[in-house]
Every structure is written in structure tokens, then in C-alpha cells.
């Protein structure tokens, strides 16, 4: 399978099953489109007719293009066959280990963001803080079920995790003791709205947190529209200086400014550029996940505007990169040479198998987005995963498990998409969230185009 697209002056051909990326001119682009369905002589005839005003498009030249395509095909870099379907089937039999936990250390929040999928931190349940006992047991559970996997990830999540900060510090201290005993390496992430950041948080986070995710929606008026304190006031002015101080003292360690865009700011690139202009360089901006009847929900009419926004973002990133003030956008990060192997590309995010969420009470769910849904309770940190049927269902939830993904060129980039989004959109984790798919495909096209541009290729149209 191949995917062809033209963007920002580049003609790009993706060979899906080899992972190859080809940058071609418009003539080769057209020849490749016809190659598998049309006889060579007919391709030559059509091309000579279409490009009759271009003297360099000769029969000899076209035969060379056809030879190049055949050579690439022979070398497995174009029209490569799908060799992975059987491998995907084996995923059912694989013995998975758990390598990441999302610890819901606080099912409560000091903001009342309208769009919060966690219902202002409560996840449709009671307010609660995780005890140290549960936190330590979660660490023990993770180590015990991690097999030979050395790098273990723990995300302190909420609600707002800083509302249970001492417990977070104590769990980190406990995990640091345990990792030495068990030859593990914990990587901690803190996801916070920033309100409670102080010097103690900054010092500790910069020492212990492999990554921090700081929630900022962009421009003040956009951020304050939905991210309000319990008193109804906007939070932008409170958090911004705290975020700046934390990032400036981070010493190069990982962080993301993470925003959400909604129907109210479909011009979300202005929010990304705002964050970049503030001096932040590691940026993430996600489409809101919500019920379709919410006033801020993204609509079908928004889609073309969002596509345009992703293109604007890509071209501006190229421009800023060349000007020496570039920034990273999470969804445009793509390492074509050193990216994930085929196992990762098929198996997906690992929710329900390698990655679990832990509630304040120690209950296990496939991921943070399933927390609070009793149908998706998987067990607890004392007894482990007891709902093994559900785990096996998630084990099979991969790029080859979803009928809707069968003909999609992007499935080895998204691995079949987010199970929670699919479930909320269709009622099944093996469904797809088509709206999200459309945005994802656009983002991958843009991400690869940015790579092409930054590799120095010349525009061909």
C-alpha cells in the first residue's frame, strides 16, 4: 500500500509496509499513481500527453522513471507487501508485562475546566486522595509484574496531583529505594494545572520527574474561557509565571506545555504560537474529547479549518526552525530513521495490557480515560489483574484488529488509534473515532512534510 499527497510544494509518496518515504516530482508522482494498475506503454502515452508542454518529459525519461520504480519495488521500498498480518495475530498469545502506571493520586481539582474528561477530577465518582499505602502498593505491583523490563513509567495524574503532593514525594522516595533492589529505572511524569506550583515543587520536579506536562491552552482569553478556578476566575495569570520559572530552571529535562483546543478556538495555531512566543519550546495541543452536544465540541464544519490550521502550523514551524527560533510540536515529532519498530507500530499504546491506571482506592482500569466506568474495572493493586478476559480483549486491540482500519494508510503510524476514543465514539474498543482519525492522518502528512523540508529537499511544484 502506498499513500501519495502534495503539500507545501512537495510531492510525497509513503510506502506503508516498508516505512519508506519518497520525495518525487509531479511526473513521477503521476507515474507511481498509475504503476500498479496500468500497462507501461499506456502510462508513457498518458504522461506524454499530460506533459506535452514540458520538453524534458520524453519517452526515454519516462522509461527511466518506470525503471526506478521497479528497482524500488524489487528492493522492498515501494509497493512492499503486508508481511505483518500474521504477526498481529500472534499478539493474542504474547505474554505481556506491565511497564507503566498512571497513578490517580487526587480525584479532586482546584480548577473547574468545563471540558475536563475527568469531570473536574472526580471521574463521575467521589472526591478522594490516594493514600501512601495505596501508592506504595502500586509501585510493588508494577515491579512485580514488569518481568525483565527495566524502564518503568509512573505518571502522577489527577484531578490535580499537586493536591496530594507530599504523598507524591513519598511514593517517589519509596520507588527510588525499590528500583535499586530490583534493578529497575523509574521514569516519573507529573501532569499539573500549575496552580500549586511553588519552589518546593519546582526543585523536586526538576530533580525527580523525567517529564512534566503543564496544562496551558494558549492565549489568555482562550485559556481563561474554560480553565477557571473554583471561584470562577481565569487561571492564566496565576499559572504562567509559575510555569515559566519551572521550565527555566529545568536544565534541559523534558517538559511539555499541553493545551486543549475546542470549537471556540479552531484557530488553535495562534495559541501554539502564543506559547512559543512566551519562550516555551516543547508544545502539545490536543483536540477536545467530548460528547457531541457540548457547546465547545468540535464539529464537522470545523474539520476543513482544522486541516488548514495544521498546515499553517507546519509551514510556520519550518520558517521558525530556519530562523533559529524553532519549537517542537508533539504530534509532528517523527523520527524516520530511529522510530518505533513494527511490533510497537502494530501493538499500540499498551492500554489494558502494558499500561494501567490506578484509582485513589487502588482499583485498576485499562487507562485513565476508562476510570470510573465499572464495566472496565480490571482488578486492584493487591490482587492484580483479575479481569483477564478484558485484558485479553485489549491485547488484541491493535492495528490489525479494527475492520475500519483495514484500508487505512495511517494504521502503522497510529497503531489503530485510541481505544478509549473508539469506545466513547462507537461503544466498542475495536471501533474507530473517525473524526480523530481524520485529524491524525492530516497531522502525519504534515509531520512528514516538515521532515522532508528540514532535510533540504527542493520544492517541485
Amino acid at each position: 500500500m502506498i499513500h501519495q499527497y502534495k503539500l507545501n510544494g512537495y510531492c510525497i509518496v509513503l510506502d506503508i509496509y516498508s516505512g519508506s518515504v519518497h520525495v518525487v516530482d509531479p511526473v513521477a508522482y503521476d507515474v507511481i499513481a498509475l504503476y500498479e494498475t496500468t500497462a507501461p506503454e499506456e502510462i508513457i502515452r498518458q504522461m506524454l500527453e499530460k506533459y506535452h508542454d514540458q520538453p524534458d518529459v520524453t519517452e526515454e525519461e519516462l522509461r527511466q522513471v518506470l525503471d526506478s520504480i521497479e528497482e524500488l519495488k524489487k528492493n522492498g521500498k515501494l509497493f512492499a507487501p503486508d508481511q505483518y498480518a500474521d504477526m498481529a495475530f500472534d499478539f493474542k498469545e504474547r505474554n505481556t508485562v506491565i511497564k507503566a502506571l498512571c497513578l490517580h493520586v487526587a480525584h479532586t481539582c482546584n480548577l473547574t475546566c468545563n471540558y475536563c474528561f475527568a469531570s473536574q477530577g472526580k471521574y463521575q465518582g467521589d472526591r478522594a486522595l490516594m493514600s501512601l499505602e495505596v501508592g506504595k502498593q502500586a509501585i510493588d505491583f508494577l515491579i512485580a509484574h514488569s518481568g525483565t523490563r527495566r524502564n518503568l513509567e509512573v505518571d502522577f495524574f489527577g484531578g490535580e496531583p499537586l493536591m496530594n503532593w507530599q504523598m507524591v514525594k513519598d511514593v517517589v522516595a519509596y520507588a527510588r529505594e525499590q528500583e535499586k533492589l530490583h534493578n529497575k529505572n523509574f521514569r516519573f511524569t507529573l501532569t499539573t494545572n500549575g496552580l500549586l506550583i511553588d519552589d518546593d515543587v519546582i526543585e523536586f520536579a526538576n530533580k525527580e520527574m523525567h517529564n512534566v506536562v503543564l496544562s496551558l491552552d494558549g492565549r489568555k482569553e482562550v485559556h481563561d474561557r474554560l480553565r477557571r478556578t473554583v471561584n470562577g476566575k481565569g487561571s492564566y495569570d496565576i499559572i504562567l509565571p509559575k510555569f515559566k520559572k519551572l521550565v527555566e530552571s529545568r536544565g534541559g529535562k523534558g517538559y511539555y506545555m499541553r493545551g486543549t483546543f475546542t470549537h471556540d478556538n479552531v484557530d488553535f495555531t495562534n495559541d501554539i504560537f502564543h506559547m512559543a512566543d512566551l519562550g516555551f519550546t516543547e508544545l502539545s495541543m490536543e483536540p477536545v474529547v467530548s460528547a457531541p452536544d457540548e457547546p465547545y465540541a468540535l464539529t464537522e464544519e470545523d474539520l476543513p479549518k482544522l486541516f488548514e490550521q495544521y498546515e499553517i502550523l507546519a509551514t510556520e514551524m519550518i520558517r521558525r526552525h530556519e530562523a533559529g527560533n524553532g519549537f517542537t510540536f508533539y504530534h509532528y515529532m517523527i523520527d524516520l530513521k530511529g522510530g518505533p519498530c513494527i511490533y510497537k507500530r502494530i501493538s499500540g499504546c499498551g492500554s489494558g495490557t502494558e499500561y494501567l491506571a490506578v484509582t485513589p482506592w487502588g482499583e485498576l482500569f485499562p487507562c485513565h480515560q476508562f476510570v470510573g466506568d465499572p464495566a472496565y474495572s480490571m482488578g486492584n493493586v493487591w490482587d492484580g489483574v483479575t479481569n483477564t478476559a478484558l485484558r485479553d480483549e485489549f491485547k488484541l486491540c491493535n492495528a490489525y484488529a479494527r475492520p475500519d482500519c483495514k484500508d487505512c494508510w495511517a494504521r502503522l503510524y497510529c497503531s489503530g488509534g485510541c481505544a478509549a476514543n473508539a469506545y466513547h465514539a462507537t461503544g466498542s474498543i475495536k471501533g474507530i473515532y473517525e473524526y480523530g482519525c481524520q485529524l491524525f492522518r492530516k497531522r502525519i502528512e504534515c509531520a512528514i512534510m516538515v521532515q522532508v523540508a528540514q532535510a533540504g529537499f527542493t520544492k517541485s511544484y
Binding site: 516498508s18 519518497h22 527495566r150 505518571d155 501532569t191 523534558g254 511490533y343 487507562c367 502525519i444
Partner: protein, 50 residues
């Protein structure tokens, strides 16, 4: 000019033989939390092993 140029990319078919160590990050853990993409996940293996 050469009408077809190829970027250097990881050979996915080859990665079926030398991949699968499982040390990489879970996809949703870092910055998004509301979608799934694997393309932007770095491989934990050193480049000479790929």
C-alpha cells in the same frame, strides 16, 4: 534532476527481526493523554542495533 528521491528511514520489515524489545515508552504517557500515536515514540535501542 532525479525525479524520485528516497529519505533514509527505518526498514519496518527488518525491524520485525531486530525489534520488539518492549523497552519503549507507552504511547500516551507523555504529552497527549487523549489520542494514540506511535510514530513519535523514540526507540530505546541504540542505533547500531537497528
Amino acid at each position: 534532476m532525479n525525479r524520485i528521491q528516497t529519505l533514509e528511514t527505518r526498514d519496518l520489515a527488518q525491524s520485525a527481526h531486530n525489534g520488539g524489545c518492549g523497552e519503549c515508552q507507552t504511547s500516551c504517557q507523555s504529552a497527549c493523554k487523549t489520542s494514540c500515536g506511535v510514530a513519535n515514540q523514540p526507540c530505546e535501542k541504540s542505533s547500531e542495533n537497528k
